[in-house]
Amino acid sequence: MEKSSSRMIEITVISGEDLRVNRRQLVKKNAFVIVQTGSSRTTKMDKDGGSYPIWNEKLVMELPMHARFINVEVQCKALSGGNKLIGTARIPVSDFSGGHLPENYLNFLSYRLRDRNGERNGIINLSVKVIGPENKSRVASCPRPRTEVPVDNKVSGGIVVGIPVPYSY
């Protein structure tokens, strides 16, 4: 893919609220999130969070230029072994990009999740920042560019080697 056809975004999946397996049964554990932009990334499971899981996981993803939505799915691992869909949220790209906001603005966003039948099911909290129109290999090699190179302590602390020059009085 060419550079101009996509850009990188940084999505931090923060937490979920009031997640339910069905109307009466709360999610007990092992909730995780799948984020789809064109490609797909999955967070770790929150083994202890129950219906209020916290992931605080940062994903760097490629967003096609023509994309208008990001899909976010919350699932949990069922006792029977498979994965159960808890809810889905559709995030318009215009919510964090375009308009008068600066391109690298850190957006904190929350969305209502809808289950498979379209019923309301909890809230997903995340933050999104557009990193910029860079190609994937550059971002992958250096996800957080450094502003300066740290000084090597060994060099600055070393003894300067000099050649003694004899005095001529």
Binding site: S15, E17, D18, R90, H100, L101, F108, S110, T147, P150
Partner: protein, 592 residues
């Protein structure tokens, strides 16, 4: 057995160290679990109560002593709402000095939501009173040197938090010969330092017979008397002998100093409350930093028991996987470094207010000068907020009125100008409001959406310029909304911008819809597309509830504003403007 499969969630929560409460059975109506709140609480950022210290100095005082120079002393007062003076404190007497620098500080409590007038009076203390304690001095027996007054918020908004005032006579007559008084204000926080640490253990001893341990950590601070005070507890990790806990955040107020020994104990959680001791160790914060840098572990020890006379070194180890040192900046840190609060006003011009020429109209301009409800709200909020805006040019709009052309506008400029919407000062808002009443016919219906979008546009554009402005929109209305869902949609979009919205309800209408917008008492706002408000930016107060009480409208509206401001700036790692670039870069380095 370690524990049963019953409801033990409460006992397993982390406490202290900035841990968050995650209510298991609370529905989303609770409204206190917004995204940013989670973000904060996990990072230990709680607002501190703001106490301030005033340092005083003077120059070129009058010389009243014949044989020697004056011996000056300052008495500080705060003027109450009823006009009476409350003494805040007195400085010491400095002998024979016309340019004194007093050592004694004056303590004052900073309250953002009210205007705090301060009065300083300087006296020449006669020589024969020099041996008396300060409190026993009778001020009537001393020579009056001069008086100065100012507002506390005038001092804290200065770059160096210092203000120089000309001294004047008691009756207010100004004279250059009386000299000047300089007031310097500083926040009295012990320290802003905090440390966020992520702990991990390995090879813990198993205390459960048929399953693994359910470990948690408790961190205590040692005190001089030899005991220890718990300051933090992690959450419980089930069935795990190599647990990884969520980060805890400790402030210096909690752990004392970096060299102060902390006691870190590991327990196996038991539902009956008798948690089984696994091991403990003694480490200071400085030593934990060393462990983190060297990526080494520290072994737990078991104290001497009846069967062993000496300590036993256990196999279990504690590691510090993550460690971030950071500064917790307060509201005043931002304000004194140059951040501003920009005030905006939107006034309801719908017909339900009544004809402005009628005395029973909510917009009636009383010839005697008594303010109507709209004017009161503008004055009370504006006179507080104006100190935090350097240029004091305020956008002012009206909504629901019909102009001369005949069309109803739901966001028109209060000054009547087709281009600029800014007016000069609070008085400018008042005069623009009075003249708008002459030129605009009251119409309807009541719509908030457009003025909120206008304010959000201004706040959004300011982000591109700089991060040093935060906007406060005051909406004064008498009636119910026609565009409730559009208003909610606008509020949800604006909730991620540097903007807060204050709504004052005037008159006797039903304000149920306003309570919905104010998320203090309602659920998180949800837009028609399913987006949820990032944070609560709306405050609503009906005017009638506070008329009889001592607390004014302004206090109820404005006391949450510093918290909303801090919520916004902290979530984006925005630091005060005077924090050095190297500090920011060092901060970034540690996070990599």
């Amino acid at each position: 057995m370690g524990n049963c499969f019953s409801d033990l969630e409460g006992g397993k929560q982390a406490v202290g160290g900035g841990s968050h409460q995650r209510p298991q059975n609370v529905r989303s109506d609770a409204g206190h679990n917004d995204a940013v709140d989670h973000f904060f609480r996990t990072k230990g950022l709680h607002a501190l109560f703001t106490k301030m210290e005033l340092s005083l100095s003077a120059s070129k005082l009058r010389d009243l002593d014949v044989l020697s120079k004056s011996d000056p002393m300052v008495v500080s007062y705060q003027k109450k709402r009823d006009g009476s003076l409350e003494e805040l404190g007195r400085t010491e007497v400095i002998m024979n000095n016309l340019d004194p620098v007093w050592i004694q500080k004056i303590n004052v409590t900073y309250q953002f939501e009210i205007v705090q007038p301060l009065i300083f009076r300087i006296y020449d203390v006669d020589t024969k009173y020099h041996n008396l304690p300060l409190k026993m001095l009778k001020l009537n027996d001393q020579e009056f040197l001069g008086e100065a007054s100012c507002y506390l918020s005038e001092i804290v908004t200065r770059q160096n938090q210092s203000l120089t005032l000309n001294l004047h006579h008691r009756d207010g007559r100004s004279s250059k010969n009386l000299g000047t008084l300089t007031v310097h204000a500083e926040e009295t926080v012990a320290s802003r330092d905090a440390v966020e640490m992520a702990f991990r253990c390995s090879h813990l001893e198993n205390k459960d017979l048929f399953s693994k341990s359910d470990p948690f950590l408790r961190i205590s601070r040692t005190v001089e008397s030899g005991g220890s005070i718990p300051i933090c507890k992690t959450e419980v990790v089930n069935n795990n002998l190599s647990p990884v806990w969520k980060p805890v955040c400790l402030t210096m107020q909690q752990y004392g100093s970096k060299e102060n020994p902390l006691v870190i104990e590991c327990f196996d959680f038991n539902s009956d409350g008798n948690h089984v001791f696994i091991g403990k160790l003694h480490k200071s914060v400085a030593e934990l930093i060393t462990l983190h840098q060297n990526k080494t572990g520290a072994n737990f020890i078991s104290p001497p028991s009846g069967f062993r006379r000496h300590e036993k070194l256990l196999k279990g180890q504690l590691f510090v996987d993550g460690l971030i040192e950071k500064q917790l900046y307060s509201f005043l840190d931002y304000i004194s470094s140059g951040f501003e609060l920009n005030f905006m006003v939107a006034v309801d011009f719908t017909a339900s207010n009544g004809n402005p020429r009628s005395p029973d109209s909510l917009h009636y301009i009383n010839p005697s000068g008594q303010l109507n409800a709209y004017q009161q709200a503008i004055m009370e909020v504006g006179e507080v907020i104006q100190f935090y805006d350097s240029d004091k040019r305020f956008p002012a709009w009206g909504f629901g009125g019909r102009s001369y052309e005949g069309s109803v506008s739901h966001c028109f400029n209060l000054n009547g100008s087709p281009i600029g919407f800014e007016v000069e000062g609070v008085e400018g808002i008042m005069s623009a409001y009075a003249s708008a009443l002459q030129n605009v016919t009251l119409a309807g219906p009541t719509l908030f959406g457009q003025v909120i979008n206008k304010a959000a546009d201004i706040a959004g554009h300011s982000i591109s310029d700089s991060h040093a402005k935060y906007y406060v929109l005051l909406i004064i209305t008498d009636g119910v909304l026609t565009d409730l869902q559009e208003t909610i949609d606008s509020l949800v979009r604006a909730s991620d911008l540097p903007l807060s919205i204050l709504i004052v309800g005037v008159g006797g209408a039903d304000f149920t819809q306003m309570e919905i917008l104010d998320a203090d008492t309602g659920r998180r706002l949800e837009s028609s597309t399913g987006r949820i408000a990032t944070r609560d930016i709306v405050q609503f107060v009906p005017m009638r509830e506070v008329h009889g009480g001592q607390i004014s409208v302004v206090q109820a509206l404005l006391e949450e504003l510093p918290g909303q401001f801090l919520t916004y700036v902290r979530s984006r790692d925005i630091v005060p403007l005077n924090v050095g670039q190297s500090h920011s870069e060092a901060h970034t380095q540690q996070r990599v």
